[in-house]
């Protein structure tokens, strides 16, 4: 039996890691849930968010949490660009998203991800960089809680809670939910589908890039142009686990992954097997709960 203190310590780290996973997957969740488009280049926008936070730190001395709003503002612009440059011609005038549209956008964003990751490799070079930002550590017995990770976890839960409130309590949020349920009926209610889809995409990108900024806390020396390839699959799994379009689903999926990755090694399972298990959890979930764990 594993040492209890060790398990608790791993659980705490796993929960915090899960919160980071949740926030980086959240933008994908919003875009997928609303427009039914799976952005394969999601990981590359996380990477761009992380580099945004890095350069804000280098030139202006921002810490990662401070750079979240700046990254989000950039993300809104990028999101509108992405929508009108790529999605609009596929989604325009369609009442239901067919499998064909789904596949076209899947392949197109796959191309985009190749462009972005390799262009980033040429521009930023392959060297790993990072932000030196290490607030103190809270210690309680064997459990050490790095304050940086705690701030990130709190920001992550706050971002998800605010987005849930926004979707359920505001007029715009209701319009977005209406669009995601039935485009034709939403139009009959006087909702402009292009405007809603563009705004939802922009919000999704703002969340994605903000997530990239928060992720840098966990990568003190590990920001490279290729982190997208690591975090995109994690985001896909999280969104499918929670169910696309369910805001708290991001948190649930993220925590599931974070806990599996961090707690399984405490029971003597090697770290990479734990990662494999965390990924493979997706398959039984898809088999038995097609719409995600969250009802």
């Amino acid at each position: 039996m594993a040492d209890l203190g060790l398990v608790v310590a791993d659980l705490v780290v796993g929960l915090m890691l899960g919160c980071v996973f949740a926030v980086i997957a959240h933008g994908l969740n919003v875009i997928w849930g609303v427009t039914k488009v799976v952005n394969v280049a999601h990981g590359e926008f996380i990477m761009l968010g992380a580099y945004g936070a890095y350069y804000l730190n280098v030139y202006l001395g921002f810490n990662p949490v401070l750079s979240v709003p700046v990254d989000a503002a950039i993300g809104i612009g990028v999101g509108f660009l992405f929508y009108f440059g790529l999605l609009h011609r596929e989604l325009r005038g369609k009442d239901t998203i067919t499998r064909e549209t789904e596949m076209v956008t899947l392949v197109a964003t796959f191309g985009l991800s190749l462009i972005l990751s390799n262009a980033a490799l040429a521009i930023f070079k392959g060297d790993a960089v990072g932000i030196r930002w290490a607030p103190e550590t809270l210690a309680a017995g064997p459990v050490h809680v790095p304050l940086g990770g705690l701030y990130v976890a709190i920001s992550s839960v706050a971002i998800i809670a605010i987005s849930d409130l926004f979707l359920s309590r505001t007029y715009l949020g209701n319009a977005i939910r209406a669009y995601s349920q039935d485009i034709g009926a939403a139009q009959l209610m006087g909702i402009n589908p292009t405007r809603i889809a563009a705004i939802a995409t922009a919000i999704g990108f703002a969340l994605t890039m903000a997530g990239g900024a928060l992720l840098t806390v966990w990568l003190p020396v590990g920001i490279t142009p290729l982190i997208g390839a690591t975090y995109a699959p994690i985001s896909f799994v999280i969104v499918v686990l929670g169910g696309p379009g369910k805001m708290w689903g991001s948190l649930l999926g993220g925590l599931t992954l974070g806990i599996l990755i961090d707690v399984l090694p405490a029971f003597g399972i090697s770290a990479s097997i734990a990662v494999a298990v965390a990924f493979l959890v997706l398959i039984p979930v898809l088999l038995f709960a097609r719409e995600g764990i969250l009802r």
């Binding site: 790529l86 011609r89 392949v107 462009i115 972005l116 390799n118 699959p233 990479s272 494999a276 898809l286």
Partner: protein
């Protein structure tokens, strides 16, 4: 019995393959190596074409079968004392077996969900294999095969010839009608009596078999199997790019796509300023093709250039 008449596309491809097969022994060594690498790309393109091209199920994780083939070759040579050719056959067999096993579960999912599941399976395999000490753990297996360009060439040449023949048979035979029906509307296909699950499983098995065989030859050219070269996601991405660019589900498309992806891949490595940009250029091509001509080069020529239609069957 009617004597089968083959279209000009098959004759053209056959001519290219015969010329390659006859001429290669007389070519300088550097060209031989380049041809082997090129045919590896062609082999991978046709392998994925069986699945993604013919059924429309996008697979992001097809490199997992390459990895299985590579490890089959490494294990066969290192532990069982196989000659390389037998290792390649073992790779093909294991590729097919794993594809059928994985397909039994993952082919229940459609569209994006299938694509994500393939990626998940790939990543799980990539994380599990280095933990298996029988397969050399994280340091892989070194085979000390030496440099055998002609044996490697004729193995991959045979694989590609088999793939082209099988693709022709599948696309032009009765199986092809069922597959086209699945690709355009799976539910409607089931209604008219197409056994969709069985067809998809067969195609996934064939696809895994050829990807396994090609992966084994790739490991043979490296004379080593490492977790990173065995399970390399960029090969998944290149495979997908090749058939999208050339034209998914066609006979000529994968070959054309392999030429278009391989030439810059090879050329960019010789030019300092372009080094590393090859995948960005390929990505730009994939993006443009997906948005403007989603049927790829071959599909577009078929549709808009009637005079050339019979050459791109």
């Amino acid at each position: 019995m009617r004597f089968p008449t083959f279209g000009p596309t098959l004759y053209g491809l056959a001519l290219v393959m015969v010329v390659l097969g006859v001429a290669t022994p007389f070519l300088p060594i550097i060209v031989k190596v380049q041809l082997i690498n090129f045919l590896l790309f062609v082999g991978l393109a046709y392998a994925l074409n069986f699945m993604t091209g013919l059924t429309g199920y996008v697979s992001f994780g097809h490199a997992v079968f390459m990895g299985i083939g590579a490890y089959a070759l490494g294990g066969g040579i290192d532990r069982l004392g196989f000659p390389p050719l037998l290792g390649v056959i073992l790779g093909a067999g294991l590729g097919a077996a794993f594809a059928v096993g994985i397909g039994l579960v993952t082919l229940r999912f459609r569209g994006v969900y299938f694509a994500i599941t393939t990626l998940v399976v790939f990543l799980a395999a990539k994380n599990i294999v280095p933990e298996i000490s029988e397969l050399g753990g994280g340091s892989g297996i070194f085979m000390n095969l030496g440099f055998q360009p002609l044996a490697e060439f004729y193995t991959i040449w045979t694989i590609v010839v088999l793939e082209i023949g099988l693709t022709y048979w599948v696309t032009h035979g009765r199986l092809g009608y069922g597959l086209r029906a699945i690709k355009s509307d799976e539910d409607a296909a089931k209604t008219v009596g197409v056994n969709a699950s069985r067809l998809k499983l067969i195609l996934f098995g064939i696809s895994g078999m050829f990807a396994g065989a090609t992966g084994a030859v790739y490991a043979w050219t490296l004379s080593a199997v490492l977790p990173d070269t065995g399970f390399d996601i960029t090969y998944s991405l290149r495979m997908l790019a090749m058939i999208i660019i050339g034209g998914a589900g066609t006979l000529l498309g994968p070959f054309l796509g392999a030429v278009i992806v391989y030439v810059p891949y090879n050329y960019f490595q010789t030019v300092q300023s372009l080094l590393g940009l090859q995948l960005a250029v390929i990505g730009a091509l994939v993006l443009l093709i997906a948005l403007f001509i989603p049927t790829g080069i071959v599909g577009t020529v078929r549709r808009y250039v009637p005079t050339l239609r019979r050459y791109v069957e």
